[in-house]
Amino acid sequence: MTDIREQLTWNLIWNRLLAIVEEQAQTLMRTAFSTVVREAGDLSAGVFDTRGAMLAQAVTGTPGHVNAMARSVGRFLAEFPLPALAPGDVLLTNDPWDATGHLNDFTVVTPVFDGARPVALFAATSHIADVGGLGFGPDGREVFEEGLRIPIMKLYERGALNKPLEDVIKANVRDPVVAQGDLHSLAACNRVGAERLLATLREFDLRDLDGVGRWIIDTSRRAMAEEINRLPDGTYRHDMVVDGYDEPVRIVCALTVAGEVIDIDFSGSSGLSPYGINVPPNYTEAYASFGVRCVVGNDVPNNAGSLAPVRVSAPTGCILGAEFPAAVSARHALGQMLPDVVLGCLDQALPDVVPAEGASCIWNPVLRSSQDVEGRLRSSRFVINPIFNGGTGARAGKDGLSTTAFPSGVRTTPTEVNEVTAPLIFWRREYRSGSGGAGKFRGGLGQVIEIAHAEGAPFVVSKMFDRIGHPARGRRGGAAGAGGRVYLKDGGELRGKGRDEVPEGATLVFETPGGGGVGNPAERAPEAKRRDAEEGLI
C-alpha cells in the first residue's frame, strides 16, 4: 500500500510543481514592464532539480523558449556549480547562445536552499524591449551591434544587489527604468516560486525533489518514447523556401525516427545571412522541437524527460546553426517557420494528423510619423506596432484557422485602440476572401487591412513580413494559400521587408497570407462548399 500512497503524493507534487511554475509565470507577466511580456506572453518560467534537469515549465505564449531555457540552466551550472552558490544568490545572462537566442531575452536563475542545502533552481526568461545597440531588428551585422551582452554572472550575491552590473545595464539601454523593472520582476517571480516550493516540501514532508523528480522525468520520457515508438522508423525529408530578408532562405530538414528517439537535422539549409535573421542552435532546437510536440505527445508536460527524446542539430555555418558573433536579433522570423518544416517531415510518418503550412510569420509593422530630412515632423508624432496574422494551414479533418497566430501565441490590438493612439484610420480590416488554400479541408484566411493617415499626411512603415513570394503550401493535393501583399491602394507594390514612406493622401494595404489546404479540393464536402460560398469566404 505504501507505493500507492507514494504514487498519490508524487501525483500531487507534480500537479503542484506545474501550478507553482504557472504562478511564477503569472507573477512575471503581472509585474513585467515590457508590453510583449504582459500581452503576448513572451516569457518562460520553470523549476529544475539540483542537476539542472527541468521538472516543470509554465505554458506561455512563446515556443521559442521551450528547450532553450531548459538547456540554459545547464550552462549556468557549468559556470557556477551549485556548491559554489549560496542562499540569496541570483544569476543572470542575456547571451543569445547561453540563454534564449537574442540579446533582448534575459534569463535569471535562482538556486533554492532549504537552510544551507540546495534543493532546486528556478529559472525565468523575459523579453526586455530595448538592450541598446541598433535596437530590436535585423539591421545589425554582428551581435556586437545589437546591444549589450551580459555573460552569466551574479545579479545578487547572498541577497545583495550587484549594483555595478545594474548600473552598466542601465547606462547601455534606451529605457533604463523599464530594463531595471524587468530584471527585478524576473528575480521576484523566481522568489515566489522558491517560497512555494519550500512550503510544498514541508507540506509533503520531503527533504528534496530527487525521488519525485526522477519519477516525473522517467514517466514523461516513457510517455514520449511510447508515442515515438508508434511512428514508423525511417528518415523523412522536407524542405521549404521562404522570403528571407534580402534573398530567399532554404530550410532543409531530415527527421529520423529511430525507435524511441527523433533526430532532426537541418544540414543543407542556407548559409548565414549578413543580417540579424540568423538563428542560434538553441532557438532552432526550441522551435523544431515545438513542431514535434504539437502532434507527438502533446499531452505530456514539458520537462527534461519529455524533451530528451527529440534531438535537434544544425551545422555550424548554416543560418539555423548561427554561432557567435553572428547577428541574431530577429531570429524569430525564421524560427516561426521551423514547425512547418518539421511538420512536413512528420506528415510522411503520421499521415492525416499534420496540418498544412500556414502564414506562420506574424505581420507586425511599425507605423510611425514621418519626418523630413531636417528631422521636422510631417504630422503629430506617433508610433504603433500592431500585430496582424494570416491563416493557419488546414488540419486533418478540419479547416485551418483564419487570422490566427501559429506557432506564436501573440494577440492582436483592437482597431479602436490603434486609432486612439495614432492619427490613422483603419478603413478596412476583414477577412481576405479566397486567400485560404483550397482543399478537402481549406486553409485559414488571411486579412486585408487598409490604413490611411487621418489628415492625409505621409507616414512611415517598417516591415519584416514573410510568405509573400513563397506562400504556405498545401498537403495531399491541397492548394497553397494566397501569398501576402503590401501595396498602396492607388498602385505600387511595396517590399515585405524594410522601411517605406507612405506618401501624402495614400492608403497603405496589407494582405496577410492564407494557410495551405489539405486534400483534393474536389473532395470537399458539398455542405462545406455551400457554406464557404454563402459566407463569402471563397
Partner: protein, 667 residues
C-alpha cells in the same frame, strides 16, 4: 430563487428565520423547478403564496442558452470594411500545443454580419455619414432570414452612438417585432471585439429571456404570488425585470454573484477584512477574494469557456461582474486516470443528468461525489435534502473501475481511489485559488475561507491546511448560499462610458459631463425600484500610455488630474509592486455605480441561539443540534440537509452566535 446548472435553490426568509430547499433544475422549462421549489419552502414554513412580500431571482438561463447555442436567430449590422471583428477576435489560440484547437464560434455567422457605409472616428466625429438607404435595403433579407434579434455595432460607437440609434429607428419601423440591441448602449466601451461580442450575446438571449420572464410571471401569478419581483445581476446587485429584459446579458453570472454577496455580508458583519469564498456546486467551484467586506469587481467575463475552462476559450462579455475564478471541480466532476497514470478530476462533469454513479440515474463514471460517499463524508439518505438517495455500492464500483484498477492495480481499493480523487480535486482548487490571488497581486494565506454550495463544506478544511488559511466559516444554509446571498443584495446599477483622456490633458468639464450622463442613466434604473437616492461610486479605468490593460481607480468628485494620478499610482503599486515614473497616464473609460438597500430586505439581526454550556462532540453530528458555543472536535462530520461539514483530525469546529460553524486548527 437561484437556478443553477444542477440544482434550483429556494430560500424563504420570514423574520429572522430562513427556510431553504433544493430541487433539481428542470432544464426544459426552468420556471417549473422554481415554482416547485417555491411551493416546497412555503409548505415547510407553513405560509401561503400571498404572504410573499418580495421575490428575488437569479438564473443561469441566459448562460445556458449561450453555452447550448439555443438563442435567437441573430444578425449584426456593422461598419463597412469591418465585417469580421466578431470572428477575428484577438487572433490568438488559447492552447499552445493543440493544433486541432478551435476558436470560439461567433454567435452571429458571417452571412448575418451585414455591413453598411458609415464611419465615426475616435473623437466621435463623423467621417462618413450613415447610408440610410443601405440600412433600409437590409430589411427584406432580415425578414426572409427570419431574424429575431439584431445587434447594431459600429466602430467608435461608444464615442458617438447616433448612427446606431438611426439604424434602430429604421429597423424598428420596418420590422416592429424584431428585438434590437445597440452596442453603444449594451457596452459603451472602447475595444470593438469585446463590445460587439457583448452586444451580440445580449441580442442572442434577449427574446428568450423576455419569454421566460413573462412565463414565470404568469406561473407565479397562478400560484398566487403577488409580490414585486427583482432580478439578481452578475455584478452582485438587484435590478428590475424591465432592465433585465433590456440587458439580459447582465444576468449571466447571477447565481455565483449571490454567493459572493453572502460571503461579503458575513465578512463585513464579523469584521473579517481578508476573506476568500469557495462556492462548490455540481459542476464547478468558484473562488472569490473579498477584502474589507467587498468582493472583487471587474468588467470582463467569458461565457462558455468550452476548453477546460481555459481563459480565451469562451465568448467575452463586458458587463459588471464579481470577479471569480471558476474551475471544473464540482461534485459531478468526473475522475479518470490519464496516460501518465495520474489521477485527474474534471473538468468534465456528469452534471445532474445522468449525475454521479451513486445517484443511480444512469451515470456510470466515478465522480467527486462518489469519492466523498465512499469516504463516508456524505449522509446517503439526506443528500440534497433527501431529493436523491445515494447508492454506495454503485459509487465504489465506479471508483474501482475508473480509478483504482488503472491507477493502483489490484491492490488498490475503492477507499484508496476515493482518497486520491478527493486529494486531487482539493489540490486543483488550492492551485486555482493561489493562481487567482497571484494574478490580482494578492496573498491567499491567513484569509478566512467562507464555504458554501453543496460541495464546499466537505473540502474547505483541507483547503485551509493547503493554503495556510486562518479558519473556515460555514454559514447557516450553506448548501443554498447563493440564494441566501440574494436576500442580502442591494439594488445597484453600473454604467460605463469610454471617453479617452490623457492626464496631461485633463479636462474636468468632460469628466463632469460624463458623470452627469451616467448618473442620470443609473438613477433611471435604481429610482424605478427604490426611493432612496443610493450611494454613488465612480471609477476611472486607467493605464500607463500605450499599455494593454486598464486598472480601475476610484474617482472622487470633483476630481483633478493630480488626484487621479495619485489614486492611479496607489492602485498600480498595490497591483504590480512598482511605478513607472515620468510616464503619462491615460483614461479609457469611466464607470458610475448607484447602490441602494431595499427596505423590505433590511434583514433583522440573525437570532442569537440561546447560549449554552460548551460541550465537545465528535463523529457524526446534526448541525441543527448544535447550540451556540458548541465545539466539535475532528474527525467529525456535521450533517445538514443541503451539505456536510467535514472537520478533519487536528481541527475543531465551533458554532458562533450567528449560527456560523468556524473550523480552525487545534492549538
Amino acid at each position: 430563487m437561484d437556478i443553477g446548472g444542477t440544482f434550483t435553490d429556494v430560500v424563504l426568509q420570514t423574520g429572522a428565520r430562513q427556510v431553504p430547499t433544493k430541487v433539481l433544475t428542470t432544464a426544459d422549462n426552468p420556471a417549473v423547478g422554481v415554482v416547485q421549489g417555491l411551493r416546497q419552502v412555503l409548505k415547510r414554513a407553513g405560509r401561503e403564496p400571498a404572504d410573499v412580500g418580495m421575490l428575488l431571482h437569479g438564473t443561469t438561463l441566459a448562460t445556458n442558452a449561450l453555452i447550448e447555442r439555443r438563442g435567437a436567430r441573430t444578425a449584426l449590422v456593422t461598419t463597412e470594411g469591418h465585417r469580421d471583428v466578431l470572428e477575428m477576435a484577438l487572433e490568438n489560440r488559447f492552447e499552445q500545443y493543440d493544433v486541432n484547437v478551435d476558436r470560439p464560434v461567433p454567435l452571429v455567422p458571417r452571412r448575418w454580419r451585414l455591413t453598411v457605409p458609415e464611419r465615426v472616428n475616435a473623437a466621435g466625429e463623423v467621417l462618413t455619414p450613415l447610408n440610410v438607404e443601405a440600412v433600409r435595403a437590409l430589411v427584406p433579407a432580415l425578414a426572409e432570414g427570419r431574424i429575431e434579434s439584431v445587434a447594431v455595432g459600429f466602430l467608435h460607437g461608444y464615442a458617438n452612438g447616433a448612427h446606431e440609434r438611426l439604424v434602430r429607428d429604421v429597423l424598428a419601423a420596418a420590422l416592429p417585432d424584431i428585438s434590437i440591441t445597440l452596442a453603444s448602449e449594451a457596452c459603451p466601451e472602447i475595444r470593438e471585439f469585446e463590445r460587439f461580442s457583448t452586444a451580440c450575446a445580449n441580442a442572442y438571449v434577449k427574446p428568450l429571456m423576455s419569454r421566460y420572464l413573462a412565463d414565470l410571471q404568469v406561473r407565479l401569478a397562478a400560484l398566487g404570488v403577488r409580490s414585486p419581483f427583482l432580478m439578481m445581476t452578475s455584478g452582485g446587485g438587484l435590478t428590475s425585470v424591465a432592465a433585465a429584459r433590456e440587458f439580459p446579458i447582465r444576468l449571466v453570472e447571477s447565481g455565483p454573484a449571490g454567493g459572493a454577496i453572502l460571503a461579503s455580508r458575513i465578512a463585513a458583519s464579523l469584521g473579517l477584512d481578508r476573506v476568500v469564498s469557495l462556492d462548490m456546486g455540481g459542476t464547478t467551484a468558484k473562488i472569490c477574494l473579498i477584502d474589507d467586506g467587498a468582493p472583487q469587481h471587474s468588467r470582463a467575463f467569458e461565457v462558455d469557456r468550452s476548453y477546460r475552462f481555459r481563459k480565451g476559450s469562451g465568448l467575452p462579455v463586458r458587463i459588471p461582474v464579481i470577479e471569480m475564478v471558476e474551475i471544473g471541480a464540482g461534485g459531478g466532476s468526473v475522475a479518470a486516470v490519464d496516460r501518465l497514470r495520474r489521477v485527474e478530476v474534471g473538468p468534465r462533469s456528469a452534471g445532474a443528468m445522468p449525475g454521479p454513479a451513486c445517484y443511480g440515474r444512469g451515470g456510470e463514471r466515478a465522480t467527486v461525489t462518489d469519492a466523498n460517499l465512499t469516504l463516508d463524508r456524505l449522509a446517503p439518505d439526506r443528500f440534497a435534502g433527501g431529493a436523491i438517495v445515494l447508492d454506495a455500492a454503485a459509487a465504489q464500483a465506479a471508483l474501482i473501475r475508473d480509478v483504482a484498477a488503472p491507477w493502483g492495480g489490484p491492490d488498490c481499493g475503492a477507499a484508496e481511489a476515493a482518497e486520491a480523487v478527493v486529494a486531487v480535486v482539493d489540490e486543483n482548487m488550492a492551485a486555482a485559488a493561489r493562481a487567482h490571488a497571484s494574478e490580482w497581486g494578492k496573498d491567499i494565506a491567513e484569509r478566512t475561507l467562507i464555504a458554501f454550495g453543496g460541495g464546499a463544506p466537505l473540502h474547505a478544511a483541507r483547503l485551509m491546511e493547503k493554503l495556510g488559511l486562518r479558519q473556515v466559516l460555514v454559514p447557516p444554509a450553506a448548501g443554498v448560499g447563493s440564494a441566501v446571498g440574494f436576500l442580502a443584495a442591494p439594488v445597484s446599477y453600473e454604467v460605463v462610458r469610454s471617453r479617452y483622456m490623457r492626464l496631461s490633458a485633463f479636462d474636468s468639464e468632460t469628466v463632469d459631463q460624463v458623470m452627469t450622463e451616467m448618473r442620470a442613466e443609473a438613477r433611471e434604473v435604481v429610482g424605478a425600484i427604490v426611493d432612496d437616492a443610493g450611494r454613488e461610486t465612480r471609477q476611472a479605468h486607467m493605464r500607463y500610455l500605450g499599455q494593454g490593460y486598464e486598472i480601475a481607480v476610484d474617482v472622487a468628485q470633483p476630481t483633478t488630474a493630480e488626484a487621479l494620478r495619485g489614486a492611479f499610482d496607489r492602485a498600480y503599486e498595490a497591483l504590480y509592486g512598482r511605478l513607472i515614473p515620468g510616464l503619462d497616464v491615460e483614461v479609457l473609460s469611466w464607470t458610475l455605480t448607484l447602490r441602494a438597500e431595499v427596505a423590505e430586505l433590511a434583514s433583522p439581526p440573525l437570532s442569537s441561539a440561546s447560549r449554552c454550556a460548551a460541550h465537545v462532540v465528535s463523529g457524526r453530528v446534526e448541525r441543527s443540534a448544535l447550540a451556540t458555543g458548541a465545539v466539535v472536535a475532528g474527525p467529525a462530520n456535521i450533517v445538514e440537509d443541503e451539505t456536510v461539514i467535514v472537520v478533519p483530525t487536528g481541527c475543531a469546529a465551533r458554532v458562533d452566535d450567528q449560527g456560523n460553524v468556524l473550523i480552525s486548527r487545534r492549538a
